[in-house]
């Protein structure tokens, strides 16, 4: 049996089998339930062994700062992990404490060991709570002296060891509970000084009093110790009056603005409240009046220090409790049963043992004398309810509950009356919050008589939706949360019969808060309160169904609550209308615009649950609001009306009804006129525009989708103007939502109202709209232009019919990079998107009319557009904005190819298939991750397309290189993954050029990881083919082609130089060194020369120096020419160029021995070493005069190396010489020396 009792560590969680607060308590590990994840809970204390190890290491690490801190850090980390579930440590607590205390008490260790042990002890205490830890500390008589001694030896000012003092004080607080007369512990032995030693009682009190006013946590332990100590019968007699005297005097004399004095007041107030808590009521009664009087005179409620105000409220209520006798509620066994299962079985009665009536309330009441001071106490706590800080209000609320609990019924009811005063319009949110807390506290103690319910329930319902506007937001979530607490408490306090009349109201209000509150903690609180009511009252309609669906986790997401849970709840007719009413009254005009939009969607989803109510009541009610005064309401009402009408239309479809069968014509007409009315009222202007415009567009969209009949074209033209104006006013890129709603509105409008009965477009309108939109493609505002471009893309097929040529040529024009619009990359991107969309709208038809469908006549122009867009490398201050265009184009190529293949593969010429795959592969090696992802995915799509894409060169090889599973597994964004994949493609002849071109910008790029992975992959590929002359030649030729094609195009040529430097330097072309004057090298020198000719970009020059130096390894005339180039650069105008040339030349001469200057090598090296080694480096001199000197040295080197001396050519244009002799001569000199 013993084993049975003690060894059961497993928690028995079956307190309330299905309901009750189990789930809520377990789930809410975080404060207020925000950001709570189920997975965060731990199952058991995992680090038990590590903890033991850390404790054992204390003697070794103490004193050595770094290991000590590491041990402490680790210990803190482990312990903090269990802060939310401290009970997990319980099985190990005893041994941990024993181990630590042993270490702390061991006097053979240096003090540092003791302090560290106490630090650990503190951390455990912080985690588990001091009340639990205190119980586990040893408390033998023999402990008293040593612990007191240790404490006396501490320095109260040492800020590094406060944990030691804290724990020692706590320890002493349990030791002083020993049931022996303290005076018996005093030995009457004289000390050496001849005096009697101070009695132990005095010594404890003295040391504790020191710590009562300190600024660290030891103060709290001291307060606890004193309260425990002074309530001992023997100590109380001797010391309590004197102590209280001292405390009150200290309190009154303290300066309430001085920080240290506030610490002291804090300590004393804490001590006093604990004293009045722990002490025997009768003993303290004599002191209560004077303490109360002093406290009141201090006027603590005016203190700026929150803690002091809280402690004052706490003390005042404890004093109040001292005045009053305990009363026990007679019903405590009836309502308290915590097991729902049992409740259900025995019909609400707790288990009956040998029952006797607990207390006879009624009899006690009459002869009960309530002291006058109580009035003061109640006044104080009631005032505390309205305090500006939550902790004070919370403490006051508990005080109201506790004190009222002991009052006779009549007085108690007066208190309730006073609490209800908190809920008036004049009171701020603080009062409402405090009032709710107090109501809940009264409720759960059964102090709100059922007769009070008619007054309390309406207040509570109001508080459940409390929201007080403050500028652009609202306050009140704390009030709503507290109101849920009231509901929760009432569930426990009242019999079902008493709540019955209010069930409908309370249930609706709670469920509304649970699904429609903005804040997650309120939704969760309401859900918990609902659950409690269902479990205890059992009278809530459909309680069990709702509780199991609208639970803690489900309400965690606002979208889920609004869009799904609300619909679930609304299926029960008791809640439907209340929920809809709440949304319409409170949430449509909510301060958070996103909530208004969400509400409109929720109303859309709710419409099927009460179509008549929506159509006949809600819509007519919303209509005037749509053009009302308040911006927020207007916005919400317009959005919601549109959504409701649309939902009603969809419902009608099922029953073969049109929207006019369901909704009043007047209402529909009114709604149709809203966009025009807004314009007339000038509501599209000013700060409201951002809300009114998308709302109007969305309304137009929904009404169009719902096929609302319009009389004449007046309305549609107003609508069209509204949409056009909205598009024209797109000013910023962040207005995506507006853009989307405008385009959606436009598309719906076209679809519904611009179509004749035969399904063709209304001719006059078609031209007008398309022409005006095409005209807007030149709009100067980029976002407006984008908007119109996208709108054209959204045109329905019948609108395009007959106008395709015009449309395509307009949009194609918009994809071109022009000087004026170079920065409008977004517009070019959107134009491509629109072309794609139009292609898919009209479809591809072989032999079709080029003005209606895509056919062989216009498909080539689409391809050309996309392929040309692949060349869009525009950059601006945002970076490579051309990627947007290229990405869109890659997608477009794949889309159109895919579509065409479905029709007839012969629609597309072979060259386009090839070009497509080349461009895609080119992009796949690009430097921007996102671009690679799009290109890579497109590549795989094309390779595995069904029907297969024809004319893909080397199809089999490509299929082998990119197996189909790459669709799922290959991460193109990762440079480490995609480059090795891409390298083998280089060996496929047709692809060498595009892939190498793509690689160039990556290998020669700037991003470290990108350069690392791409160059590494390329290098390993090159080394693989190092002995394969054909392969190598293919690469080298391609490099030359690229160089030729992109000569002076910095975007490619600069990275290309860097890549060449890298490739030559890593020995990839070693094969070529055997052949004298290999054509590749000669061509390369020429190209480099051309590239740096007239070039002032130091980056490029530096890259070229690298390439030249690498080329020295090749024999023949090329070496001579290269050396000449280098020596020219050695005399360059830019110091940095000269310096770099000298350095690299030196390195090169050392690296490649066999370059034909053996006899003079040492001398050359010496000169270079001396000049570069000097500080400052000769070549870095900025002085123009020294240029001559430098060139002298340079010419000396030329002689030594057998290279002809570069001679400055005569300046080409004499005119320039005149203009600026000095500057221009050096410029001309540079030009000349470079060989021009």
């Amino acid at each position: 049996m013993a084993a049975d009792l003690s060894k059961r560590t497993e928690q028995d969680k079956k307190i309330s089998p299905a309901l009750g607060l189990h789930e809520y308590a377990e789930a809410s590990h975080g404060d207020a339930g925000d950001a709570v994840v189920k997975g965060s809970s731990l199952e058991y204390f995992e680090e038990a062994e590590e903890i033991v190890g850390l404790i054992n290491s204390i003697p070794n690490v103490a004193g050595d700062l770094i290991p000590m801190e590491m041990a402490l850090e680790r210990f803190t980390f482990i312990v903090d992990k269990y802060q939310e579930q401290p009970h997990l440590i319980d099985p190990y607590l005893e041994s941990i404490l024993e181990q630590l205390l042993k270490m702390a008490r061991d006097t053979t260790h240096p003090p540092k060991v003791m302090h560290l042990a106490f630090k650990f002890l503190y951390l455990v205490t912080k985690m588990r709570g001091y009340k639990v830890i205190v119980r586990q500390l040893p408390h033998e008589v023999a402990d008293l002296e040593p612990v007191l001694e240790m404490l006396t030896n501490q320095n109260p000012e040492d800020h590094e060891t406060w944990e030691t003092r804290y724990i020692l004080l706590l320890w002493l607080s349990i030791i002083v509970l020993i049931p022996f007369d303290m005076s018996r512990l005093d030995s009457n032995i004289r000390m050496e000084s001849g005096e009697y030693r101070k009695p132990i009682m005095d010594r404890i009190l003295d040391v504790a009093k020191i710590y009562i006013g300190v600024f660290d946590t030891a103060r709290e332990a001291a307060a606890f110790l004193i309260s425990k100590f002074l309530t001992r019968p023997d100590v109380q007699k001797q010391h309590l009056p004197a102590f209280l005297d001292w405390a009150l005097v200290t309190l009154t004399q303290a300066n309430p603005t001085n920080v240290r004095a506030m610490d002291k007041m804090n300590g004393i107030l804490q001590t006093l409240s604990l004293l009045f808590k722990h002490g025997k009521r009768e003993d303290l009664l004599t002191f209560a009046p004077v303490v109360l009087k002093t406290l009141v005179s201090l006027k603590m409620e005016t203190s700026k220090n929150t803690l002091l105000r809280k402690l004052a409220i706490k003390l005042v209520q404890r004093i109040g409790l001292t005045f009053l006798k305990t009363r026990l509620a007679s019903w405590r066994y009836q309502r308290g049963s915590r097991s729902l299962a049992e409740n259900l079985q025995v019909g609400g009665q707790g288990p009956v043992a040998k029952e006797t009536v607990a207390m006879k309330d009624e009899e006690d009441e009459d002869d009960y004398d309530v002291p006058d001071e109580i009035e003061e106490v109640i006044e104080q706590v009631l005032r505390g309810l309205k305090d500006r800080d939550t902790i004070v209000r919370w403490s006051a609320a508990k005080g109201v509950g506790r004190v009222t609990c002991r009052l006779p019924r009549e007085l108690a009811d007066q208190v309730v009356e006073e609490v209800l005063d908190c809920f008036s319009l004049q009171e701020a949110d603080e009062a409402w919050h405090g009032g709710c807390l107090a109501l809940a506290e009264l409720g759960r103690r059964g102090l709100l008589l059922p007769s009070r319910l008619p007054k309390v329930v309406p207040v509570m319902l109001k508080a459940l939706t409390y929201s007080e506007k403050r500028a652009a937001y609202s306050v009140g979530s704390h009030v709503r949360d507290a109101a849920c607490y009231v509901c929760w408490a009432f569930a426990r306090a009242y019999e079902p019969e008493e709540i019955k009349p209010y069930v409908q109201q309370i249930a609706s209000a709670l469920i509304i808060t649970a699904v429609a509150d903005r804040e997650v903690n309120c939704r969760r609180a309401a859900s918990a309160a609902f659950q409690e009511n269902v479990g205890r009252q059992g009278t809530f309609p459909h309680g069990i169904d709702i509780v199991t669906t609208v639970d803690y986790f489900a309400v965690g997401s606002r979208n889920n609550s609004y869009l799904n849970l609300s619909v679930y709840v609304a299926q029960f007719e008791e809640y439907t209308q209340a929920l809809v009413d709440h949304l319409v009254q409170h949430k449509i005009s909510h301060w958070d615009p996103s909530l208004r939009a969400l509400t409109s969607e929720a109303l859309h989803n709710l419409t099927p649950k009460c179509p008549d109510y929506m159509a006949k009541t809600i819509l007519p009610m919303l209509l005037p609001l749509c053009t009302g005064m308040d911006l927020a309401t207007r916005y919400g009402a317009i959005l919601s009306s549109g959504q409701i009408v649309h939902a009603l239309y969809k419902l009608g479809l099922e029953k073969n009804q049109t929207i006019t069968d369901i909704v009043d014509r007047d209402v529909l007409e009114g709604l149709a006129n809203v966009p025009g009315k807004l314009e007339a009222a000038q509501l599209y202007r000013g700060i409201g525009a951002d809300y009114m415009r998308p709302a109007a567009c969305s309304l137009i969209e929904k009404l169009s989708l719902s096929k609302v009949p319009l009389v004449g074209s007046a309305t549609t033209s107003v609508w069209q103007t509204t949409i056009d104006d909205t598009m024209k006013l797109m000013l910023a890129g962040y207005q995506f939502a507006i853009q989307d709603s405008a385009i959606a509105g436009f598309a719906a409008l076209c679809n519904e109202y611009y179509r004749t009965e035969e399904g063709t477009a209304l001719p006059d309108i078609q031209d007008k709209v398309i022409d005006s939109y095409l005209g807007q493609l030149q709009n100067e505002m980029v976002y407006a232009r984008c908007c119109f471009i996208l709108a054209l893309g959204a045109l329905p097929k019948f609108m395009i019919a007959g106008k395709l040529k015009k449309l395509l040529s307009g949009l194609i024009g918009a994809t071109k990079v022009t000087v004026k619009d170079i920065s409008m990359a977004e517009a070019r991107r959107d134009a491509i998107k629109s072309i794609i969309r139009i292609c898919s709208t009209v479809g591809i038809e072989k032999g079709g009319s080029p003005d209606c469908v895509i056919c062989e006549d216009n498909i080539n122009s689409v391809y050309d557009t996309f392929l040309q867009a692949m060349e869009d490398y525009t950059t601006d201050r945002r970076g490579d904005v051309g990627t947007w265009v290229r990405e869109a184009a890659v997608v477009g190529l794949a889309e159109i190819t895919s579509q065409a293949l479905q029709v007839d593969a012969s629609l597309i010429q072979q060259e386009y298939y090839e070009k497509t795959i080349f461009s895609v592969l080119h992009q796949a090696g690009e430097k921007i991750d996102r671009a690679r992802v799009v290109a890579g995915e497109t590549l795989l799509r094309l390779l595995y397309h069904d029907p297969p894409v024809p004319y893909i060169p080397h199809r089999e090889e490509l299929l082998n290189l990119f197996p189909e599973k790459d669709k799922e597994t290959l991460n193109w964004a990762s440079a480490a993954e995609c480059y090795p994949k891409l390298m083998p493609v280089l060996s496929l002849k047709s692809y060498t050029y595009p892939v190498l071109l793509g690689l160039t910008v990556s290998v020669g790029g700037l991003t470290e990881s990108l350069v690392k992975h791409s160059s590494h992959s390329l290098n390993s590929y090159m080394l693989k083919i190092a002995d394969d002359e054909d392969g190598l030649t293919a690469i080298s030729d391609t490099l030359l082609t690229i160089f030729n094609n992109y000569l002076k195009v910095d975007r490619v040529s600069l990275p290309l130089l860097k890549m060449l430097d890298f490739l030559l330097g890593s020995g990839c072309f070693e094969l070529f060194t055997q052949q004298e004057d290999h054509p590749f090298t000669l061509a390369l020198v020429d190209l480099c020369k051309k590239e740096i000719a007239k070039c002032g970009d130091p980056q490029k020059l530096l890259a070229a120096i690298g390439v030249f130096c690498q080329l020295v390894q090749f024999s023949g005339t090329v070496r001579e020419r290269v050396l000449f180039q280098l020596l020219v650069l050695l005399g360059h105008k830019y110091p940095k160029v000269r310096k770099s040339t000298a350095n690299q030349l030196y390195e090169m001469l050392i690296t490649y021995e066999d370059i034909g200057v053996e006899e003079n090598l040492n001398e050359v090296l010496t000169i270079l070493r001396e000049t570069t080694g000097k500080d400052p480096n000769v070549f870095i001199s900025r002085d123009d005069d020294s240029l001559e000197g430098i060139r002298g040295i340079r010419n000396q080197l030329c002689d030594l190396m057998g290279v002809k001396k570069p001679v400055s050519k005569a300046p080409a244009k004499p005119k320039q010489e005149k203009a600026g002799d000095d500057r221009m001569s050096s410029y001309a000199d540079l030009v000349g020396r470079l060989g021009y």
């Binding site: 308590a25 026990l328 506790r402």
Partner: protein
Amino acid sequence: MGLLTILKKMKQKEKEVRLLMLGLDNAGKTTILKKFNGEDINTISPTLGFNIKTLEHRGFKLNVWDVGGQKSLRSYWRNYYESTDGLIWVVDSADKRRLDDCKKEMQALLLEERLAGATLLVFANKQDLPGALPAQQIREVLELDNITTHHWLIQGCSAVTGENLLQGMDWIIDDISSRIFTMD
């Protein structure tokens, strides 16, 4: 400090029960406690001071306070009354001589304000000894039936054999947990 925080704290509190075990000296309080805890009961000497043991039973955490029963210690019992949910009064059923003393001490205890409302379990201990009075008789001597202020149960038991200890504990936990949550 929202409702969910309150619920969580309450949940933790509801699972903890504080039991105070009192009785005359040599009644067997410490023996019962050690038996509960599975410790050796052969070397128990009079309790000088007090013991606190934390036990887990049926999902509840029981904090049992066992205070020495010598006459000189009894005036210090009041130090331990605060927030007591259940009182376990242990009687030496074989010590007929001091039953009267026992009754007086117990009745004094029941008048204590801070113990008002606590559940009372009387263990008529040492039933294994020959000559021990049966629980029924102890009930009469202690005039338990006159108690109107507390829920009570008398349970004959033997700390040495462990007989009936569990039944008594089960009852006291049932009674405490069926009461409404601890007021404060």
